[in-house]
Symmetry: C2
Amino acid sequence: MIRPTTFIDSIRLTRYLRQDVLLASETFQHTGSFKFRATYHLASNIPNRHVLAASSGNFGQAIAYSCQLLGKRCTVVMPDNSAQVKIDAVREFGATVCLIDTRKISRKEKVNQLSRELEDVYVASSYDDDLVIAGNSTLGRELAALEGKVSTVVVPIGGGGLASGIITGLRESASTIKVVGAEPLLANDAARSLKAGKLICDTAEARTIADGARTLGLGQRNWEILKTAIPGIVEIPEDNIKEAVRLLYRFANLKVEPTGALGLAALLTEPERFRGKAVCCVVSGGNVDAEVYRSILAEGH
Amino acid sequence: MIRPTTFIDSIRLTRYLRQDVLLASETFQHTGSFKFRATYHLASNIPNRHVLAASSGNFGQAIAYSCQLLGKRCTVVMPDNSAQVKIDAVREFGATVCLIDTRKISRKEKVNQLSRELEDVYVASSYDDDLVIAGNSTLGRELAALEGKVSTVVVPIGGGGLASGIITGLRESASTIKVVGAEPLLANDAARSLKAGKLICDTAEARTIADGARTLGLGQRNWEILKTAIPGIVEIPEDNIKEAVRLLYRFANLKVEPTGALGLAALLTEPERFRGKAVCCVVSGGNVDAEVYRSILAEGH
């Protein structure tokens, strides 16, 4: 059911960056991001007939569609100020959307409350769950096929679900490919954790344009995998995230969301780290509001 | 060397249209459009060391890159009011760009003049050439693999190079898949030709946003193939072209140029023609200026 990633190499991008770069795009995965790998695996491997999750983004759509495909019920807790298109997308996939005023109740409190009320329900985290990591490991196994052609994979980091999954998949395939993380400078909890050698979490959501990386911290399970396997995390200024979105538009015909552009943005931010290496940038997703996308394109003029 | 097309099916797009639709995207072909299929085949199969063409769009980039790959010289005649990004792209691929003031000399006159001056030169038409049709037929052979799953392929029509190539490839594969054309209403010379049973050309370039379909008429070779093989051509209002660009953005994460959206736009324009059929829309290319793309997205609000 999971779609293979779409590999794209653009000679114009490679020449522009003076850097061998291959893109592994998850923008054409079901529901438009890598999240479906995790949610479909999760929903297929639990006995429960109902899945409950909090998400204002890609995880919500992905878990809703996975449950619809598998004939399970799904409830997604979303802030009532979420973009209407995102609420609509989750509903289109048959899930019940529970809108909350986050000034009155946190997502976590609402999930806890609902988990007591709903029957036979599984509470799904979008990253801190072994089933999520196992689902995302399917991308790691695909990337392992690049052995010999690519030495380094650059992966966006939010909660760490994607990076830990890719590392797991590469390990299962006995791959020697290295994983480097890419995180917004404004939400650099993972980079700080790695430097400190212990899990550090932010106390407030960062205002980075990369909304998939606004998580307060890595999950415990993700941290355990990342802390030994990641040689470093590139911390990316906002301007480079936007510039990477524009370069993918211009040179690769790829529509990506800001979080999805973090991998390429890492190459703009620390070119010397990657010089001479054959790099694959994972583009994690493509779902971005037209309004946001237009304003990013406009800044390029 | 030619990249296989990228098949994308979006459940959200299918549900929105209430119509089974598969996309065959050429936006990730080398140089961002199907044109590379034609130019690489052409440049590989001529003895000449120099290729000359007139193009302000995708053909110019594609022939320039093909010649660069094959170590041949390339000269592209472009109007001096062409978008700078397009001129730059052709130059990046090593071609000599010859800018002309089209009020003083036509592209055709300049090409004729240069063809007498340059040595060992092949003058390439972007559609009316057997090698171009043969190059584009590679896409028809790929589409033939959809036999049994898809009954109708919808193809943008400009000069007719893509449609005649696809028909040729499908025939070579003994496919029963039908080809329907998609043409801007403002540049409906092919539709008028089909109705009249003879090749009709416009006298002035139409101002359709689908710039790849602004050609004055079908090529003679393309017409000979299309006239017996195409059951009909859908004539598409400008608004539907733009709406199709937005739907591909929203539901398929696909960045396409207006001409590339013609196939999907045909489904919006004559839904009853396709109802109940399994349709594949060919997305011919993705190269669109950010300015134009932004304004199309903005109109959706």
